[in-house]
């Protein structure tokens, strides 16, 4: 049996879904698109699937989310739809309800946020509402798990009963006559329960439905003429006419169903926003809050915990020491010991050492999001992001990515416009994540230790990250594949509420879980492989000098690719490639290649050696390349998941690496010009810069798009 959850964004759908399915969830993407698909098994009932549809305001054919939802309901024949609505926005929420009912599938209304209504001392007459809409109404408070049981029982009851569809919204007589005519013409093409839905859609001139139904020409002409008469009479298009009649229907009874408390208490959220989105205080407060989040996550709480993990568990007297002692005592082969201690524990340990900082960061960002403040941030920052073709919602993924790119990429889900979402998925990892910090520290320490600009290196990495996101967005949006579809940016500002422990725990758990899973699988495997390749020569003998290893010879084969960037050295090449596994590896690999089995986080031991192989310019070029190029495997996996397609994953990685190459080339070659060198390389550098500037500054022919959304 299939139950479907449908409702507006911010209605509490996700909380309800979590209540109903617990941990039996499978989260993926709808095939080929960047929209999240959530499916689960009802708790305690193995044969009942619950599908969580994307948050939508209507079943029109204009956005991916709406098309996906509508297609699922009409084609997959769920047994019952649970329509979850925010009880305190009844008038708007019921707009979707009227459409859901028209699909012919039985609907149960779950009125959520009953606790908020009770606090306001408003009254909902659920029974009366049920009568007006001809469907059962159950009151719930998803955040507190109230009412879930009653809801499920009702849903099962409805699913098992015989359901006879009866229209609830009756339109004006002239419209009903046309609908009747349309129904006559299409009744052979659709199921009986769905006839009214399709007829109304034809009346609305819904492009997708018209395309699917393929009316014959005379029928189409006859219907079009009747439609035209009505449109001219009302001086409006039929879609708008229907929309207005739906709202009129709702307005007629909503006053009797939702009784507002006479005392007009000002909404607490509005009071809070008087400060938080205040004209003068809004921005400064935002800056302070973000600073606090980082301070707590990275420096204080998170930092302490991370240090503890790194020093005690993975430190000199910790796990590696214990395990290697034990392995030696049982006379394990040296190479196996090496794999286990240096490869697995060393490699994976470097990654897991970040876990505490990420835990705190995710927790704090989760609080910001769940409480409703994130929407305010998007509101405050939108004007800035607008300049680059993005929206205020892009800020959140960027913020997340400074901790770790994996949840940063996942956070792009909240971006409504599909092409903006794609652009953010491709560029959010330009923000230096926690794992890239050691690389920055390494270069700053090795090459700029005595330089007056040393303190600039780290901030420059963040600035360049932000600049790259902006530049990429501008460049990409001038290409057809990324041009914005004509959709307005309208966002709801939900009421503030205290996040529940459960939801927070869910959030943080899921984010950490995917991170740890990758560490346990891909990173583990890759760490082992890298260790083997760097410790063995082609004749499968262990070597002490890494220069003779398989990895070295492979590196020497391809290092020439990076010569134009100033660092065509096999060690740098190999370090960069191991950075694909986990960015921290860049530092540890350099360590291994320069002869140190273990190095500290910023690689202080190898600064002298590094300085002989790089110049300041080539080192900076190396840094920038590694910060911008394709992210670690875990992040690439996240990109694939969010893009929902392999083709786009390759496009993303290709773009990032290509851009990284171009920028590093420009930095190095043009930097050289300033030192008095001018050769063929300089010309290539200038040419690359010219190409970049052209892509950046050329006119955007997609600025006023009339491109319809592609249908699935």
């Amino acid at each position: 049996m299939k139950i479907v959850l449908a409702g507006n964004p911010n209605s509490g759908k996700t909380t309800l879904f979590n209540n109903l399915t617990g941990n039996n969830q499978h989260i993926g993407n709808w095939p080929g698109v960047t929209v999240e698909k959530k499916e689960g098994i009802l708790k305690g009932k193995k044969d009942i699937t619950v599908v969580d549809l994307p948050g939508i305001y209507s079943l029109s054919p204009y956005s991916l989310e709406e098309v996906i939802s509508r297609d699922y309901i009409l084609n997959e024949n769920p047994d019952v739809i649970i329509n979850i609505i925010d009880g305190s926005s009844l008038e708007r929420s019921l707009y979707l309800t009227t459409q859901l009912i028209e699909t012919g599938i039985p609907v149960i209304i779950a009125v959520n946020m009953m606790d908020v209504i009770a606090k306001k001392q408003d009254v909902i007459k659920s029974d009366l509402m049920g009568k007006m809409l001809n469907c059962p109404v159950v009151e719930i408070t998803a955040l507190k798990s109230h009412g879930s049981e009653e809801l499920i029982n009702k849903a099962l009851e409805v699913a098992k009963q015989e359901y006879k569809f009866r229209p609830v919204v009756w339109y004006s007589q002239e419209i009903e006559e046309v609908i009747k005519l349309i129904s006559e013409k299409i009744k052979d093409k659709v199921d009986e329960e769905k006839l009214r839905f399709y007829s109304i859609k034809v009346f609305e001139k819904d492009e997708k439905v018209l395309g699917d139904l393929k009316l014959n020409i005379e029928d189409f002409k006859e219907i079009s003429e009747k439609i035209k008469i009505i449109e001219e009479k009302n001086d409006d298009d039929t879609e708008s006419i229907i929309t207005q009649e739906r709202y009129a229907f709702i307005k007629r009874f909503v006053g009797k169903v939702y009784l507002k408390n006479k005392l007009k208490m000002q909404n607490i959220s509005l009071k809070i926003d008087k400060v938080l989105t205040n004209k003068y205080l809004g921005l400064p407060i935002f800056v302070v809050i973000i600073f606090l989040v980082y301070y707590l996550a990275i420096s204080t709480v998170g930092g302490l915990l991370s240090d503890f993990v790194n020093e005690s568990i993975f430190g000199d007297n910790g796990l590696p020491f214990i395990v290697s002692g034990w392995l030696e005592s049982i006379n394990t082969w040296p190479w196996l010991q090496g794999i286990i201690v240096e490869g697995i524990i060393g490699g994976v340990g470097a990654v897991l050492g970040f876990l505490p900082q990420m835990f705190v960061l995710f927790l704090l960002l989760g609080i910001l999001e769940e409480s409703g403040y994130m929407a305010r941030i998007a509101f405050i920052l939108d004007k800035i992001f607008r300049r680059f073709g993005l929206s205020g919602r892009s800020f959140f993924p960027m913020l997340m990515s400074t901790g770790c790119g994996v949840p940063g990429i996942m956070a792009t889900r909240t971006i409504e416009e599909e092409n903006n979402r794609k652009v953010m998925i491709m560029t959010t990892t330009f923000m230096p994540c926690g794992a890239k910090l050691p690389i920055i520290a390494l270069i700053a320490g090795a090459m700029f230790r005595t330089s007056p600009i040393q303190w600039l290196i780290a901030p420059s990495a963040y600035l360049i990250g932000i600049a790259m996101i902006i530049i990429s967005s501008i460049i990409l949006k001038k290409f057809k594949g990324f041009a914005s579809k004509a959709s307005p940016f309208i966002m709801e500002l939900p009421d503030y509420h205290l996040p529940s422990y459960k939801t927070l725990a869910f959030h943080v758990y899921h984010k950490l879980k995917s991170f740890v899973k990758k560490a346990g699988t891909i990173i583990l495997l890759a760490a082992v492989i890298v260790w083997l390749l760097s410790n063995f020569s082609w004749s499968f003998k262990m070597v002490d000098d890494t220069n003779l290893s398989i990895l070295a010879s492979l590196g020497k084969l391809i290092d020439i690719i990076f010569a134009p960037l100033g660092w065509g050295d096999w060690k740098a090449t190999v370090a960069t490639i191991t950075g694909l596994i986990a960015k921290e590896n860049v530092v540890s690999t350099f360590g291994v290649l320069y002869g140190f089995a273990e190095v500290s986080e910023d690689g202080a031991e190898i600064w002298m050696l590094l300085a002989t192989d790089f110049t300041a310019l080539s080192a900076y070029s190396f840094l920038i390349f590694n910060l911008i190029c394709a992210p670690c495997f875990a992040a690439i996996g996240a990109i694939k998941k969010e893009m929902g397609s392999i083709k786009w994953t390759w496009i993303a990685i290709g773009f990032q690496t290509g851009l990284a190459y171009a920028i590093a080339l420009i930095i190095y070659q043009i930097g050289l010009i300033f030192t008095g060198v001018f050769n063929f390389g300089s010309i290539v550098g200038i040419f690359t810069l010219a190409v970049l500037l052209y892509l950046l500054l050329r006119p955007n022919k997609y600025l006023n798009p009339k491109i319809p959304v592609q249908t699935l």
Binding site: S58, R92, T277, K383, F489
Partner: protein, 79 residues
């Protein structure tokens, strides 16, 4: 006095007269309840001047000035 929403004054109540614009934009605006005859209250402008925060049918919405331009409004007296 008729005007477009992007030029509305803060703390003022308005009634929507008409919604213009391309099909997709218009539909989106109307789906959210911005239809002729609906009352809305302009709460504030964002600190940087855009978007606008309005209250419609019990919900706080933020809308960009360039999209608000599509909504024709008229002043009504505050209750």
């Amino acid at each position: 006095m008729t005007n477009t929403l992007d030029k509305a004054n803060i703390n003022q109540d308005y009634i929507i007269l008409k919604v213009k614009g391309e099909k997709q934009i218009k539909r989106r605006l109307m789906d959210l309840g911005l239809i002729p005859g609906t009352k809305l209250h302009v709460r504030k402008y964002a600190p940087l001047g855009d978007p606008i925060e309005i209250m419609v049918k019990g919900t706080e919405l933020t809308i960009r000035k360039s999209d608000a331009f599509n909504i024709l409004i008229e002043t009504i007296a505050e209750d």
